[in-house]
Amino acid sequence: MARGKRRRFAFRRSVHAWHRRVGLAVATVVAVMVATGLPLNHVDRLGLDRAFVRNEALLDWYGMAPRDGAISFPVGANWLTWLQGSLYLNDRPLGETADAITGAVAVDDLLVVAAPREMLLFTADGALVEKLSGGALPGEIEAIGRAGTDRVTVRTAEGLYSADSDFLEWAPGRPPVGWSRPRALPAELEAAILKSYRGAGLPWSRVLLDLHTGRILGGWGPYLMDAAALGLLVLAATGFYNWLGRPR
């Protein structure tokens, strides 16, 4: 009888000890889960899906660097830059994308950006006028430039074509043409564009969600959170057992 009582006592002490250990072990992870879970429940109200990360270290951790370098063209007094599909006028995103870029020219009040399979017309301050593609172009654009008469001229596999002033029709073009060629962007502008590119890429809601699920630590992160969740279950069970055995 006395031996059975001693065993029960030893078991209860052991449960007490494990309750403390498990509690200590999962405390940090559970604190992270709670601290991230609460704002995640109110993402819309807090605007966390519209607020973007600007912390360089965190952006690096997410691999938010563009795969390819920026390609820039001088257009009048400004710079037109293509970076990972996005277009920038100086350091301002134009809100339009292109799969690639072959050149950019300024003519009259228009800024003309050419990609192999499309052409984008912007006003001088960067508002989109029209996007030309398919039958609106004379072919796949290899280069864009300005002919002596200030007409926009493109080079395709079939030859040179010049647009009318409204870009509605194309007629065979003639050299000489001042072709648009990429130039090295001033370092300050390049840094500003890179910052803008990265700044608009990673919302805080994504970081919080990755912290909450453990994915911010990579493939094994969710298992850590699973372990913490199981630890909570153990805490609940051992806590209940301890409460049952408490002297009343």
Binding site: Y62, G135, G201
Partner: protein
């Protein structure tokens, strides 16, 4: 304490693991069903008129925003027209990628709707005649509504909505061209 130490070691190990990585953009295939030139030849025959542009100014921009549910990207729209017969090549995003649609309008009624380029991974059924034929003879009712309802396609709701919005937009633009 040993247990706690072990957890710390595991956390440190995981911290050196791979980051979640950048979000990669899914690249959907582009299915070209018909060229612009082919569509215009179907609409106008061998005498395709020269392209013209309709500038979107004043209240037209607000009306178009109501039709599309978002502002139109661009200050002008290209069209081909002769008498009261017009053709429009318009684009609208289904879910992620734009769908290019050719719409021909004759005397204020839709004559033909053709999906020219489809870039989404789902919902390509909107290109089939069983869907596009529904638009035939539809006109604009009131200021910005189709005179008849369009039956949806299960699994292609967003593409159906996009094509329907474009048909409404083409009728609206046609009305403006005729009025001008």
């Amino acid at each position: 304490m040993k247990c706690l130490l072990a957890v710390c070691v595991v956390i440190a190990g995981l911290a050196l693991g791979r980051p979640p990585g950048a979000v990669a953009a899914a690249v959907a295939a582009e299915d070209v069903y018909q060229s612009t030139a082919g569509f215009l030849a179907q609409v106008f025959g061998s005498r395709v008129p020269k392209p013209q542009v309709l500038w979107l100014r004043g209240p037209a921009r607000g009306d178009i925003k109501e039709i599309l549910g978002h502002p139109y990207r661009g200050a002008r729209v290209r069209y081909w027209g002769r008498d009261r017969h017009t053709a429009w090549i318009l684009e609208e995003i289904g879910k992620y990628k734009p769908i290019t649609v050719g719409i021909a309008i004759n005397q204020g009624r839709i004559e033909r709707v053709e999906v020219l380029v489809y870039r989404e991974s789902h919902g390509w059924e909107v290109r089939f005649p069983f869907f596009t034929n529904q638009f035939k003879d539809i006109r604009l009712s009131g200021r910005r509504e189709l005179s008849r309802g369009i039956d949806g396609i299960s699994g292609a709701t967003l593409s159906v909505n996009a094509v329907t919005r474009l048909a409404t937009l083409a009728l609206y633009l046609h009305r403006r061209v005729v009025a001008e």
